[in-house]
Symmetry: C2
Subunit: 237 residues, 2 copies
């Protein structure tokens, strides 16, 4: 009995190819102007194939953003931040470098189109939730973050967004390079949240470890969510 039909592709690999195409087109033309036909053509698959992976157009783009988050977290993790400041500095620096992530954070309607006007996803909160609270507690234990004025998450949100929006706020000639912005974020976060005192080596190491642990956990969550959105159809491939 000879095998019939064409050899099956690796679905994950194919999904990545489709997302690559989608990413390219969305960054160039914006969500509203990017059609499924375009994506299929660019990815070198038939339109129907895309619908083997995602039930709707929107789900394809949801997967795209989830993948961006995976890449972002991995990039931050790769830079091995040792303090909370470095963590968020790298977050902003990397986000500014990634057009899609930047558009998602700034809700750039040129790029996101109607997506920007829809549900304001928890892109910012990054689905950290509990994990981040636990991280903060660990830092407080080690004296890296003061307990005082509370609302840590709020302050960090404001600082991070303030710097992410910066390119929109200042005139062309006053723009700073992304790296410089990342430095300023790191410095500002550390000063805003820290105790001002230098940490004993012991504690500094614990903080670095806690930071990496947080990133690992975030990477894992992000990755799992992304993988789950690669095949949205009921039936497996």
């Amino acid at each position: 009995m000879g095998r019939v039909g064409r050899p099956p592709q690796d679905p994950v690999q194919r999904a990545h190819g489709i997302l690559d195409a989608a990413a390219e087109l969305v960054v160039r033309w914006g969500y509203d102007k990017t059609t499924i036909d375009d994506v299929a053509k660019r990815a070198g698959v038939a339109k129907g194939t895309i619908y083997l992976h995602w039930k709707t157009r929107d789900e394809l783009f949801a997967a795209l953003l989830r993948r961006e988050r995976v890449y972002l977290v991995e990039a931050i993790r790769a830079s091995a931040p040792a303090t909370m400041g470095e963590l968020f500095g790298e977050f902003v620096g990397s986000a500014l470098r990634r057009p899609l992530m930047r558009a998602a954070l700034v809700r750039d309607s040129e790029v996101l189109g109607k997506l920007a006007r829809m549900k304001q996803r928890s892109t910012m909160r990054l689905d950290m939730g509990d994990a981040f609270d636990a991280y903060l507690d660990r830092l407080i234990e080690h004296g890296a973050v003061r307990e005082a004025p509370r609302d840590h998450m709020t302050v960090i949100t404001a600082i991070v967004h303030g710097f992410v929006f910066l390119p929109e706020l200042v005139p062309e000639e006053a723009q700073l390079p992304d790296e410089r912005i990342a430095e300023l974020v790191a410095d500002t976060v550390d000063r805003a949240m820290g105790t001002g005192r230098a940490l004993p080596e012991q504690d500094a190491q614990a903080v670095a470890q806690a930071t990496l642990d947080l990133l690992d956990s975030m990477a894992e969550v992000a990755h799992r969510r992304f993988m789950a959105s690669l095949i949205t159809k009921e039936r497996a491939l």
Copy 2:
């Protein structure tokens, strides 16, 4: 020879009345939906009268925003901030409370309409320019601001905007009251820019004085610009 014609109104007072009407309507209906006829009716003057003050609709609204700036600066001044943190804390607190100022800072297109998409006015920089640089220098002299990482203005812009945008960024249930946000801004700015050391009484007073001086100079500039935009026609009234 008996005087002919109707008694002239005080032009400045009348302009304020018109701006009051405009402010109310713009906040309620947005710039795009607010017509000159509406404004005239609400202000109790004829349409022609409005054109005695401003050559175009846009100039009327420019004057409106300039007046908002005057009120904002006066409100900050009235709170007598003694540190740079308090200065910007009060700035954000007051701005959040004033719908028009808030809309201008956030570029809320619901309220500003096409105005938001037009020239991004120097609303934020507040025409402080040189005065603010001089202020910073004075604070550095007195040890209230460290010289170090430079880009002070950039950092402050980011912090201020981050907190101004906060209500747009966090979900309903996590909203903080304006007063709390103002506190957090004050704290964040002081920590981000300060030296961490406490100031001798002497210097603290000098800082407070410098802050008031800055506000006075800003108030004066804002007021002059506003007055100049009350009568835009060539011929005096």
